[in-house]
């Protein structure tokens, strides 16, 4: 506790002598000093002085220093150089692609298409842009690009899986299950395993075509391909120039009936050029010219 009583006379004497024999000092604060003290002890003012004044001083100094263009430029340069030195550290340098999930041809294509000049800092790469570039390739369904370990730029691609070959005029294109072009082949022999489709709008109805091919599995050896007629219905083309004209509605049912008919009567092994299934109630056969002639001859002699 502060005791403001000065009791000892010697002390007072010393004080009086030191101050040229003036009256002893009155410890009472003046009214305005008292008010000032109280004001300074107000919580808000205390906080303002304790926190506000250092902040203000720092802000003033900083703004004065920054008011010069040279200083601002200096800060910009410094920032840029520090940033560059950090980004060019060996830990961040990319040296090679690491492309996974694609066949060698596609891998070469990807490496060729990506606009990356090694070595490059990983900060300078726009991963999103790289990914979109890779995905522009026909053969790529989706891709993931990320900064891998040991300076490798990992490109993990999911290739499109071709399910059919589409003869588009003279070009053979590979079609995946989504009906999207997955590549181009030179000859049919390259992908003998895939069914062939043709005609306008064929690849847009690839689902139906695939179902039809599945349904036509018993005729597998004989199926040459499906032709989209008038972007409306399918023709199943077999070898020996046979055609099955399937209806626009329920072609699968029609094809099933056809197969059953074939199993029972080996119809397709006979000399039939066209089986017209477009009217589901009544299948119409067209025989080849020789067969028709022979039939006519036989009927004539029969009579």
């Amino acid at each position: 506790m502060r005791s403001l009583i000065r009791r000892h006379p010697l002390e007072r004497k010393a004080a009086a002598q030191s101050k040229n024999l003036r009256a002893p000092r009155d410890p009472a604060p003046s009214k305005w000093h008292y008010r000032y003290q109280r004001w300074m002890l107000t919580p808000g003012v205390r906080t303002a002085v304790r926190v506000g004044s250092p902040v203000a001083v720092i802000a003033i100094i900083a703004s004065l220093w920054l008011s010069s263009d040279n200083n601002r430029a200096l800060i910009g340069e410094k920032y840029a150089s520090v940033k560059a030195s950090l980004q060019q550290r060996p830990e961040f340098i990319m040296t090679e692609f690491n492309i996974t999930g694609a066949d060698p041809q596609t891998t070469a294509d990807i490496a060729g298409i990506l606009p990356v000049e090694f070595p490059v800092s990983s900060f300078d790469l726009d991963m999103e842009e790289l990914r979109e570039t890779v995905e522009q390739l026909y053969a790529i369904k989706s891709a993931r690009v990320r900064v891998g370990e040991n300076g490798l730029l990992d490109v993990d691609v999911t290739p499109r899986i071709a399910v059919a070959v589409w003869r588009d005029r003279n070009v053979l294109r590979l079609i995946d299950a989504d009906g999207i072009i997955a590549g181009i082949i030179e000859e049919r022999a390259e992908r003998r395993d895939l069914p062939l489709i043709a005609g306008d709008g064929a690849f847009e109805n690839i689902d139906e075509a695939l179902t039809l091919f599945q349904t036509a599995e018993p005729l597998r050896e004989r199926v040459r391909g499906l032709v989209r007629m008038g972007d409306r219905r399918w023709d199943l083309v077999l070898d020996r120039g046979q055609r099955l004209l399937l209806p626009a509605d329920n072609p699968i049912t029609a094809l099933d009936r056809m197969i059953v008919l074939n199993d029972a009567q080996d119809m397709l092994d006979r000399d039939v050029a066209v089986v017209d299934m477009r009217n589901p109630k009544r299948a119409v056969l067209r025989m080849t010219a020789e067969a028709a002639n022979a039939y006519r001859r036989v009927s004539d002699t029969g009579n």
Binding site: M1, R2, L4, I5, D26, A28, Y34, P43
Partner: protein, 443 residues
């Protein structure tokens, strides 16, 4: 009575506001020193330990600032020179604030002089067999016939001391009990209105708000008397600088207060006159060598009383301690005899226990207890104020009994008259309700 209710209620509201803010200052404006304590009120945290309770409910506050300064402009415990007192108060408050590092706006002050006068009041109310409600208590207190204490006086305390319901007496809280006749005894203390106004303005001029006013004799008793003394009956003699306060406690209530307008400063001035020394030297001699019981040894103990006139003979004067005691003792005896007379007039001898506790700055005179035993009776002891949390060691002496007592007064005040509800007949809406009740009862 109306304005008293309002001013006291306003002070009470201010005290509540101060409690809510958590900081309140205690100002003991005495004749020889002005002490200021800054209290911080915390959340009361109850102690779980068995048998260890909070002492007198004082665990909820802490003294965070304390300062004391020589009082100026105060005589007999009353403000005598406004400017000087104001400066002294500013000094004390400023230093205490600095120590507490917090600004205080609300002050609870005490009055040591101002000619206190006690009145015992009683009132009765016919309950007609009903249950005692808050309203009935207000009514029975309003039914006390207040004596004509004079226009120039102000009521400082008015505490219900006792309630009696039919033939059962000594109740502290009769609410909810059933009976026919409720009577109450009340102790009312009046002081000079001018003294109250002066201290009020003095504090206002220091940019502070008065949040409570207490009699210093009463608060000294609260801090110096231990619980059983307060319960069984005891008197607290607060020997201050300019006035000696007397308060008699019984069943934890103050039942009588008086003040003798003599104190330690009179002893000092006696020494000053008797030894021809300045007051400051006399004060110093009194505190270092003073006493009231002379022994043979004291004849040989010579005290240099000094002086700085330049006259060698004058500056080398000595006086034996026996002579000093010879000067002091008659004045101390006079004070104690006056106290004895006041206690006799109040009927102190009828109390079951007649303990007398001496406290206050002047009670530190060596040998005072021996002298007081001769004058006041055998059951005399020297009292020191209760210990409160955070109080500096320098402020634990008996001189701070009133200041410490005021901290207790601030922390857990006793119910005063104005703390109860306003009686219905003083309140417009209530009186209408009462009229309705009367109709219901009688038709």
């Amino acid at each position: 009575m109306r304005d008293l209710y309002e001013s006291q209620r306003a002070m009470r509201n201010m005290r509540k506001a101060a409690m809510q803010r958590g900081v309140v200052a205690i100002l003991d404006v005495g004749t020889s020193k002005i002490a200021c304590l800054v209290l911080r009120f915390d959340e009361a945290k109850p102690l779980d330990a068995e048998g260890v309770g909070s002492m007198a409910g004082q665990s909820s506050f802490r003294v965070i600032g304390a300062a004391t300064t020589r009082s100026r402009g105060v005589r007999f415990g009353e403000v005598d020179a406004m400017q000087e007192t104001e400066r002294a108060i500013r000094t004390a408050v400023n230093a205490a604030q600095k120590m507490a590092q917090v600004r205080v706006d609300h002050v609870i002050a005490c009055l040591s002089g101002a000619r206190p006068r006690s009145y015992g009041l009683d009132g009765a109310l016919d309950l007609e067999g009903g249950m005692v409600t808050e309203q009935d208590i207000a009514q029975v207190m309003a039914s006390c016939d207040v004596p004509d204490y004079g226009d120039d006086r102000e009521v400082l305390h008015a505490q219900p001391v006792n309630f009696a319901l039919d033939n059962r007496s000594g109740m502290a809280d009769p609410r909810g009990l059933v009976g026919n006749m409720l009577t109450t005894d009340m102790h009312m203390l009046t002081v000079d209105a001018v003294a109250v106004q002066n201290i009020f303005f003095c504090i206002k001029r220091c940019d502070l708000e008065l949040a409570g006013l207490a009699s210093s004799a009463y608060v000294s008793g609260m801090s110096s008397l231990v619980e059983d003394e307060q319960e069984l009956g005891a008197a607290c003699i607060d020997m201050g600088g300019g006035a000696t306060g007397i308060s008699v406690f019984m069943r934890k209530h103050m039942i009588y207060t008086d003040a003798v307008r003599m104190g330690g400063d009179h002893i000092t001035s006696d020494i000053s006159m008797g030894l021809q020394v300045p007051l400051a030297t006399a004060e110093r001699i009194k505190t270092f060598y003073g006493g009231v019981m002379a022994t043979g040894m004291d004849d040989r103990e010579m005290i240099e009383i000094g002086g700085n006139t330049g006259d060698w003979e004058h500056d080398r004067r000595t006086v034996s301690r026996a002579e000093l005691i010879g000067i002091m003792r008659p004045r101390v005896e006079e004070i104690l005899e006056e106290v004895r007379a006041r206690l006799d007039a109040a009927g102190f001898e009828h109390l079951p226990s007649q303990k007398i506790v001496l406290t206050g700055g002047a009670s530190q005179i060596p040998g005072l207890d021996g002298l007081a035993t001769k004058i006041l009776g055998q059951q005399v002891r020297l009292g020191r104020p209760l210990r409160v949390q955070g109080l500096p060691q320098a402020a634990t002496g008996p001189a701070f009994a009133a200041a410490v007592g005021m901290t207790l007064f601030a922390a857990n005040p006793q119910d005063e008259w104005w703390d109860f509800e306003i009686p219905a007949d003083r309140n417009a809406s209530r009186s209408f309700r009462r009229a309705v009740k009367w109709f219901k009862d009688n038709w």
